[in-house]
């Protein structure tokens, strides 16, 4: 082995960090947080402009800020953090060295150069084309070039991850199968390769169009392929944050999966069907057949929804089983009442899980139903939905994981733990309210990406109902509360990194310490009631299903009242 490296065993978690992987995780996570900070500052501009009575920015600034907010949050913050998660799930969880660290640094450099290039292009003001950059509306060449460089870097990082899996297998650092969390990360990485390839297929010709080499990229072809990138990148997030949920359940409770077979099977359904969902964005488009829309938008008969519903049961179910085994076995919900609600890693993940399911999941299926999409497409219901999935689901999960990583990876004592305890509640619950009022306004038809809902100066202005103004005002208030919550996260993370008390590194060794052989697990059963290992979780799942079914048919009722269309 040419690479000389060391392995550090963290005294607080027992996790083993390889030196190269550790530095790369740190670098990627720190840059991610910087982009979250930029995106968060931009969010102030978006929220205060869409709040009708404030209406802060001018139109050109608003559209520029909205473009940057979307790209910095949805792409740069999340994918930088995901690269750190991929290295964690391979090198750290498999206790092996990271494959090709120099190439991993190259990937990091390309991503950083790409992200900065793209941001400069946007802030110069002539690339306010939104994250989707639909042709024939054109941005400057640097806008596309930045995204392409970033995508190439991210793709290389995925291959470093796959290479690390090979290293672990070859060096026999583990026996049998990879941990479930690593399996989830593999799912995310496979989806990422598909996603980034789609992005390259459409952004490279668009870049060539922007410098005049290609005359035209067809508008509908662009939309179709761009969404294989744009939507699928959110599917990377789903897989990654669900892997983090399993990890958090294991870390906070020592919970083991209820059954490896079910949880891995659900991840496999993601690999097979999740990407079909890019069709959700094309349901109101011309030129695509009904059969294509129905098969794709339903992830082939909703098999990926099935997978999400399975994860939604098995993660709290595993926590319930672990808690009952510890003796919190009274009634249906003692296990939940006695959960560590003051631990931000747990509370963050639980708020993320519930919000992702109830708000993001249910609304996503509504929008993804071919006919129901017509009463939702491009209204502010859409950003309502994806703030539930990407902010409550992914971002809050990443925040929760960060609180675990501050002492473990950053080796710092967390500054102000009292504030950290509060943060998931402030951020998560204000986002709950934010997305609910956004979806409410969307149900009344208020459009997304729109500077002035009062249409001041237009000849044939439309007057929105008063409730729409009220809800957009509440969007503003809830948005500001959530931004404060986000600022607290950044303060705690950056503050701990800069001023937190330095903690003990733990023992170093030149060779990885393999996993000890674990004894065969004891049976899952023995607690619970009526032959159900997790009866409380099952009841909660039925509450979820009831909400889902009711809301689904309410929307059909609403659709059945609009004009006939055929």
């Amino acid at each position: 082995m040419a690479d000389i490296t060391t392995y550090r065993t963290c005294p607080r978690s027992g996790l083993q960090f390889e030196a190269n992987a550790e530095k790369l995780m740190l670098a990627n996570a720190v840059v991610a947080v910087v982009f979250l900070l930029i995106g968060g500052i931009l969010a102030i501009g978006v929220v205060l402009t869409r709040w009708p009575s404030v209406h802060w920015l001018q139109a050109d600034d608003f559209y520029m800020v909205l473009t940057a907010h979307g790209i910095d949050m949805l792409i740069f913050w999340i994918i930088f953090f995901e690269v750190a998660v991929l290295y964690f799930c391979s090198s750290t969880l498999l206790r092996c060295r990271l494959a090709t660290p120099k190439v991993a640094w190259l990937a990091f450099a390309l991503m950083l150069i790409g992200a900065v290039t793209n941001n400069i292009a946007v802030f110069q003001g002539s690339s306010s084309v939104m994250m989707t950059s639909y042709v024939p509306m054109m941005a400057t060449p640097a806008f596309y070039l930045g995204l392409i460089l970033f995508a190439v870097g991210a793709l290389i990082a995925c291959f470093v991850f796959f290479g690390t899996l090979v290293v672990a297998k070859r060096d026999k650092t583990y026996q049998g199968s990879v941990p479930l969390v690593t399996f989830g990360a593999i799912t995310a990485a496979i989806i990422a390769v598909f996603t980034i390839a789609s992005g390259a297929i459409i952004l490279i010709p668009t870049f060539l169009m922007s410098i005049g080499i290609i005359k035209e990229v067809d508008a509908l072809v662009y939309r179709t392929i761009w969404w294989a990138f744009g939507h699928s990148s959110q599917q990377i997030n789903v897989s990654a944050h669900i892997a983090i949920w399993y990890a958090a359940a294991a870390i906070a409770f020592g919970a083991k999966p209820m059954s490896e077979r079910v949880s891995r099977g659900a991840f496999l359904l993601y690999i097979l069907f999740l990407q079909l969902a890019s069709a959700h964005h094309l349901l109101a488009d011309p030129g695509l057949s009904t059969g294509w829309k129905v098969v794709n938008t339903s992830y082939f008969m909703y098999f990926a929804v099935l997978a999400s519903m399975i994860h939604g049961l098995t993660i709290p179910g595993a926590i319930e089983v672990a808690q009952r085994a510890k003796g919190y076995n009274n009634g249906l919900f003692e296990w939940l009442r006695k959960a560590p609600w003051g631990n931000p890693t747990f509370s963050g993940v639980l708020i993320a899980l519930i919000g992702f399911g109830f708000l993001g999941g249910i609304s996503g299926v509504m929008m993804g139903t071919e006919q129901l999409n017509m009463i939702i497409h491009n209204t502010i219901y859409v950003p309502g939905h994806f703030h539930a999935t990407v902010v409550i689901g992914t971002t809050l999960s990443f925040m929760a994981l960060t609180y675990f990583l501050i002492p473990v990876l950053f080796k710092r004592e967390m500054i102000n733990p009292g504030l950290a305890r509060l943060q998931p509640y402030l951020f998560g619950l204000s986002m709950y309210f934010f997305v609910l009022v956004m979806m409410g306004a969307g149900t009344l038809g208020v459009p997304r990406r729109h500077w002035d809902m009062s249409f001041s100066g237009a000849a044939m202005a439309y007057e929105w109902p008063g409730a729409a103004y009220l809800m957009m005002g509440l969007v503003g208030i809830a948005g500001i509360a959530a931004i404060v919550g986000g600022a607290i996260y950044i303060y705690i993370t950056v503050g701990s990194l800069l001023w937190g008390k330095r903690l003990d590194d733990g023992a170093f060794s030149a060779k990885p310490t393999p996993f000890p052989l674990t004894p065969a697990s004891t049976a899952l059963h023995g607690t619970g009631s009526a032959g159900f290992a997790a009866p409380g979780t099952f009841v909660l799942a039925l509450v979820f299903l009831t909400a889902f079914v009711l809301y689904y048919f309410i929307n059909w009722k609403y659709l059945s009242q609009v004009w006939g269309l055929s």
Binding site: L93, Q175, E260, R261, L306, A461, G528, L545, Y552, G564
Partner: protein, 179 residues
């Protein structure tokens, strides 16, 4: 042992399902199939399905057809821009142009009658958002989308653009009257 360690049982795929998981998987699968059947069934029994009738078109071709209908069926003009109000016959074709930054012309329908509305964009993507009905359709340049519409209420309706199309996007409005 736990989700962050390799499974302790080497043959984890032979581990029996817990009843809570098995029951939930069956319930969830049934619900997924119900939702799938609902979407397919609405195509057969429902009255709100988006047409897929689409043609490739160009600015010149579409403008010429729109102009012909305007010339034939204009009943009056409105606003100081003299926007024609077109009243097509029931069952007839009518053309709506989306462009930076208006919808042209104004259209007048009759309640309960069916019309073939042709949509396209002259430039960027636009969004046809009929308010307060709340029907939303993507309008893509180069493609002529023929949507068959049957208004079930009378009144004045606005077409808001809900696809970002540049600096004047928020003032891009059109109108449909239903008598």
């Amino acid at each position: 042992m736990s989700a962050i360690l390799p499974p302790s049982e080497r043959l984890w795929w032979k581990h029996p399902l817990d009843r809570v998981e098995g029951t939930w998987i069956v319930i969830a699968l049934v619900w997924c199939l119900v939702m799938f059947a609902m979407m397919v069934g609405w195509h057969i029994y429902g009255k709100q399905n988006l047409s897929t009738e689409t043609y490739k078109t160009t600015r010149e071709m579409f403008s010429a057809k729109a102009q012909a209908v305007v010339d034939k069926y204009t009943v009056r003009t409105e606003t100081d821009k003299q926007i024609p109000v077109v009243h097509p016959p029931a069952g007839g074709d009518v053309y709506l142009i989306g462009r930076l930054w208006d919808w042209w012309p104004i259209i007048e329908f009759e309640k309960g009658k069916t019309y073939r509305l042709h949509l396209t964009s002259m430039d960027y993507n636009h969004g046809f958002s009929l308010q307060p009905v709340n029907i939303n359709i993507q309008v893509v340049p180069g493609y002529e989308h023929v949507v068959t519409m049957t208004p079930n209420q009378s009144g004045t309706f606005s077409i808001v653009c809900n696809e970002y199309c540049g600096i004047g996007h928020h003032n891009m409005l059109g109108r449909i009257y239903v008598k």
